[in-house]
């Protein structure tokens, strides 16, 4: 939870209130932003707002269709689907957001270094990055989880690695572009040290597009977590995650579709909202040109 | 004889009207200068004449443009297309980016003659080579197979001019044709345009921010400020006895002796943007002559002896 709110806070502080305000400005932005804020609050306060214990089984009350008191029905263990969907928000969002935060941090470092220093170093980094970028993310994630073992931590790292290339490419493109700009040339000519130039001048200028792309990638991360869940990896039972719920036994789809459909719909809606808000943010920040650079 | 005439032109982008009340005529063999700082609406005027405002999302809301007796503002896009490139040519500001970088020079120029003169590819190429030759481009036949990025800015601007001339137009609109070029090249291009006007009996609308260029080449001039024509008339009269304080300021900025096209940095204050045009005379916040009336009533363009001026308090500077 801390990691997730932390990420959110970092994302918010990345750009001024005005641009964020502008992203909220349009109707679409308002709807999407409102939804995401609500979702975030739901995730943070999940333990207090779930109507039932997400793990409490009642085998004799399994596969109940939506109704009262189980608004979204129960799964085959008799667990409350609504409570699990709410709690799942916590798992899915924190895994995806943490993964993307790691991905951004490492990707920006690599990309900035590659873009700044250039030469053989850049060539090596970019070859590796392009290779991972071209490799199916699901394969990368599956192999990685197989190597370091199951669990949410490894899922997080697997997603982080799968999306690393994106941020490295983006940051590098930003740095290469900025390096050509006059004020940086001037600073270099004045004899400033490389790390100083990178940290003080280049990175702050490159950060906004990376953050926005990162926000969009959180949506992809949620989908990848769901796909890992399809292979039975990811959140360890009985901890609910949307992905794990969506793939909890295919027979469920025909027996008690609500167990699978509700988390699926929540994933779809969340990813759409993330994308809409990201688009609005891009518009508000006017950084489309820079995002395209990678 | 007047070939193109603009009357009381008004342009709007959505609810904002960045251009209003612009009128001028241009005749064959004549060069009309439109001068002003960036943001004054001079490029918009060019776009309006070319019928290209919809590309940028703008439209003409009032006034008329007549070309060769034909009303252009009500013309269909298809009919307009026949004029564009055919009878009215455009030269844009930045030759670096005004050619398609993925195509060779030849076909880009050829297309005009093929389209407007109905030539075959072979004929069009011969014409291209000929025109490039007249523009003093060395080895024109080989140039046709080169790509834009392989050429210098001045050379590219000549190719843009060649494209504008390819269909033998009556009017040439040149939007800051020299701004992006080296000083020495600037002079060459201006001289070239000047020659073309004379040799081909062209009507040239030369849009610039550079009063010295105007003084050098134009027959008549329109001075624009914040989307309005503030003064116009024959170049000699305007330079000898500018009536509008803005014109006076512009002329005052020309460095004496050195013909290097100094930027208009000499006027205090900033050009208002289209979103915050001041009420009354748009120049009044920067005008040392301004009185109460200037802040409330927009001055109309009033004809005088040889031209017209839009000022409540016109007159030669003390």
């Amino acid at each position: 939870m801390t990691s997730m709110t932390g990420t959110a806070a970092r994302m918010m502080s990345g750009f001024g209130n005005t641009s964020l305000g502008r992203a909220f400005g349009s109707i679409l932005g308002k709807v999407a932003g409102g939804f995401l804020v609500l979702l975030l609050l739901t995730a943070i306060f999940a333990p207090w707002i779930t109507p039932f214990d997400y793990a409490a089984q009642n085998l004799m009350n399994g596969n109940q269709p939506p109704g009262w008191p189980h608004l979204l029905g129960t799964d085959q263990f008799g667990r409350d689907v609504l409570s699990r969907v709410i709690y799942g928000a916590r798992t899915s969002l924190s895994v995806s957001a943490t993964a993307i935060a790691i991905s951004i941090t490492v990707g920006m470092t690599l990309g900035a270094a590659a873009g700044y220093f250039g030469g053989l170093f850049e060539r090596c980094v970019m070859t590796v990055v392009d290779l991972t970028w071209s490799f199916p993310d699901i394969l990368i994630a599956l192999i990685f989880v197989a190597i370091i073992g199951p669990g949410l931590t490894s899922t997080t790292f697997a997603i982080a690695i799968a999306y690393l290339a994106q941020f490295t490419r983006l940051t590098r493109a930003q740095i290469v572009r900025l390096k050509r700009e006059t004020f940086i040339e001037a600073t270099i000519n004045l004899g400033a040290k490389p790390h100083h130039i990178l940290l003080r001048h280049l990175l702050p200028n490159a950060i906004a597009p990376v953050i926005v792309v990162g926000m969009l990638a959180i949506g992809d991360g949620i989908v990848l977590e769901a796909t890992l869940g399809f292979f039975g990896l990811g959140a360890q039972p009985p901890t609910p995650s949307w992905g794990a719920m969506m793939s909890s036994g295919t027979a469920q789809l025909f027996l008690s579709p609500w167990v699978i459909i509700f988390p699926g719909v929540v994933v779809a809606v969340t990813v759409i909202m993330v994308n809409l808000f990201g688009d609005e943010l891009i518009r508000a920040l006017d950084i489309r040109d820079r995002i395209r650079g990678a | 004889m007047t070939v193109l005439s603009v009357r009381n032109l008004q342009v709007a982008f959505g609810a904002v009207a960045p251009l209003s009340g612009v009128s001028f005529d241009v005749a064959k063999g004549e060069t009309l200068g439109i001068v002003g700082e960036s943001g004054s609406g001079k490029s918009l005027t060019a776009m309006a004449v070319m019928g290209l405002l919809p590309l940028a999302g703008g439209r003409i809301t009032a006034g008329s443009i007549t070309f060769d007796g034909q009303e252009l503002t009500t013309l269909t896009e298809k009919a307009y297309r026949r004029l564009r490139g055919g009878r009215i040519g455009l030269i844009t500001q930045n030759p670096m980016t005004s050619l398609d970088p993925l195509q060779c020079i030849g076909p880009q120029v050829d297309a005009v003659a093929v389209l407007h003169l109905g030539m075959t590819a072979r004929e069009a190429r011969a014409r291209t080579v000929e025109i490039l030759g007249t523009l003093r481009i060395p080895d024109p036949a080989t140039i046709c197979d080169r790509y834009p990025h392989q050429m210098s800015g001045g050379m590219k601007q000549r190719i843009v001019i060649a494209m504008a001339l390819a269909a033998d137009p009556d009017v040439l609109v040149a939007d800051e044709p020299t701004t992006a070029l080296d000083v020495t090249v600037q002079a060459q291009i201006i001289r070239l345009l000047d020659d073309l006007v004379k040799s081909r009996d062209l009507a040239l609308i030369l849009i610039t921010h550079d009063m010295s260029v105007v003084a050098q080449t134009c027959d008549r001039v329109v001075v624009m400020y914040a989307g309005r024509a503030v003064e116009q008339g024959p170049v000699g009269d305007i330079f000898d006895a500018p009536q509008h304080p803005y014109t006076q300021a512009l002329i005052g900025c020309i460095p004496r002796g050195l013909d290097d096209g100094a930027r208009l940095t000499g006027i205090a204050g900033t050009v208002p943007t289209v979103l915050n045009y001041p009420p009354g005379c748009p120049f009044h916040p920067r005008c040392d002559r301004a009185e109460e009336v200037c802040a409330s009533i927009v001055p109309e363009l009033e004809p005088n002896a040889t031209g017209a001026v839009a000022c409540h308090l016109p007159g030669v500077a003390p």
């Binding site: 089984q57 199951p150 669990g151 039975g232 039972p237 009985p238 909890s248 | -």
Partner: protein
């Protein structure tokens, strides 16, 4: 409400499907499409001698010397009769007369003599390890000379890995045998094998040597069988529903309910050949205390599990062997049954007292254990119920889900405490496999190495001269294992198949230990 709409929607479609199926069945009545059990997908060869993974279609191509029935009894097939020497050191088989391979070559005693040595140096060598040599007595009589008594010989001979291939074909095709072609004496011939996709078999019109497990002693009723590989259960179900597949093998328990709701689908349940269970690592505290192990077993409510998550399909398991094996009949006191009160008492006795939060404590440490399992809902569903039942006696179990290869590494590294596993094997030698001190870690997940156990193992594995002795010895070994509380038996699944009754009919009950050629011979196109 939602559920009902869904069902209505589906049954409307089923009508359409049934109509389509009806039209189709009159045109292609002589063909049937069978989907493999998801557990036997990915076979890369039809060579029984060298393969490590064979599917059901293998049993259609090859015949075996003997067949085993669901009650574990053995029946003649290519061998009409057999005799075991009283000391167990030799076996004599009388072979069926007039049997020919698909390539026209004859099956006789020499075939058997040439075939058995082929197993040497393969991954399947253990099947024939006890056979010293094979002697041809006459063209229809063959004698296996043993290097030790092997009461399990018939079981091995009935295995799919001991289908008998044509020696001529094996020689001719060399390394390509099993992929480019496969030649046996079975009721069907291999026509095409698209690895990972499907296998097409055509009828062997010469086949007249069915075992007595089939009613039909002649050729098969179907001219053509297509076996398809469909990994996803919902896809397989939808194929059956839409008429793309006629028979589904190996349906997971949770799909039975779905299938039974379909009007044209009939489900057959066969006695299963495996057990789901929870091994306990006896070397990992707190399970080094036998009282804690016993309490763990008493926590599991097998009956409730069968009734709830398995909807009454299959049977509770109270000891380690499937109930059709004679060795499964043990002293009733040793069977593991649900008794949470006694579990609580045992834990109290062992020093684990109930804490305020429902987790037991001892010396300030809570009773928290690791519960491992494999990915796949057949494991994770059961494991979550087990977790809840353990919580009821004050044991907090944390689940970790591994893939099947990684989890073996965890066992070998002795990082586990409890695990939920399953095995599929219809012979009591499974006890040796999972509890022999020679295989600590994996497969001996219980990490149990006990002198008395090893002694009983040795007697059961090698000290039995005949079947009766073997049963007695294995029962004793089994009972001792149960007394040590090394694992908790949970569930005996059934083996299920479903078929489209508009297209085909499958005899119920299915004879044999699983769906194989003996059943396919009796399978008919629907009237």
């Amino acid at each position: 409400m939602r559920h009902q709409t869904m069902t209505k929607l589906l049954s409307g479609t089923a009508l359409v499907a049934a109509l389509t199926a009806f039209v189709a069945s009159s045109a292609f009545a002589q063909e049937a499409v069978i989907a493999f059990d998801a557990g036997e997908l990915g076979a890369t060869s039809y060579d029984p001698v060298t393969s490590s993974n064979l599917n059901t279609a293998t049993s259609m191509i090859y015949d075996r010397l003997v067949e085993q029935d669901a009650d574990q009894s053995f029946h003649p097939h290519l061998a009409n009769s057999w005799e075991e020497a009283s000391d167990g050191m030799s076996w004599t088989f009388k072979l069926h007369e007039g049997v020919t391979f698909h390539d026209g070559t004859a099956f006789d005693a020499q075939t058997v003599a040439d075939w058995i040595p082929d197993y040497a140096d393969t991954e399947n060598a253990f099947l024939t390890a006890a056979i010293e040599s094979v002697e041809v007595i006459d063209p229809l009589t063959v004698k296996f000379v043993m290097n030790r008594p092997e009461p399990n010989l018939l079981y091995n001979l009935g295995s799919a890995f001991m289908g008998i291939p044509s020696q001529a074909a094996v020689e001719e095709m060399g390394a390509d045998y099993g992929v480019a072609g496969a030649v046996g004496t079975g009721p069907f011939k291999l026509e095409r094998f698209d690895i990972g996709l499907e296998t097409v078999l055509v009828r062997n019109d010469d086949h007249a040597w069915a075992s007595d497990l089939s009613e039909n002693q002649g050729v098969a009723h179907f001219e053509r069988l297509t076996f398809r590989e469909i990994p996803d259960q919902s896809t397989a179900f939808l194929e059956l529903k839409t008429g793309g597949v006629d028979v589904l093998l190996g349906i997971p328990t949770d799909f039975i309910e779905v299938l039974k709701a379909e009007p044209n689908v009939t489900v057959i349940q066969m006695p299963g050949t495996g057990i789901s269970y929870m091994p306990i690592n006896v070397t990992a505290a707190p399970f080094d205390d036998i009282r804690v192990r016993e309490a763990t077993g008493l926590a599991i409510d097998q009956e409730a599990i069968v009734a709830s998550i398995y909807k009454g399909v299959g049977a509770p398991a109270h000891n380690f062997l499937i109930s059709s094996l004679p060795e499964a009949t043990v002293d009733p006191a040793l069977n593991v049954t649900h008794d949470p009160e006694r579990a609580g008492a045992l834990l109290d006795e062992a020093g684990w007292t109930m804490g305020d939060d429902g987790v037991r404590m001892k010396d300030g440490a809570p009773l928290e254990v690791k519960l491992f399992t494999q990915n796949g809902s057949e494991f994770t569903v059961l494991t979550q119920v087990v977790q809840a039942q353990l919580a009821a006696i004050g044991m907090k179990a944390d689940i970790t889900v591994f893939d099947s290869s990684t989890i073996r590494d965890e066992y070998k590294e002795n990082r586990h405490q409890l695990a939920v596993r399953a095995y599929d094997w219809n012979n009591s030698d499974i006890l040796d496999w999972f509890f022999s001190g020679e295989r600590l870690g994996y497969p001996n997940v219980s990490m149990w190495n006990d002198p008395e156990g090893e002694q009983l193992n040795k007697v059961a594995m090698e000290g039995s001269a005949n079947s009766e002795e073997r049963i007695a010895n294995f029962t004793a070994y089994h009972e001792y294992i149960l007394s040590q509380h090394l694992m908790v038996p949970i569930y005996q699944p059934t083996t299920n198949l479903a078929f489209n009754a508009d297209r085909v009919s499958v005899p119920d009950p299915v004879r044999g230990t699983r769906f194989r050629s003996q059943t396919v011979l009796d399978m008919k196109p629907a009237e």
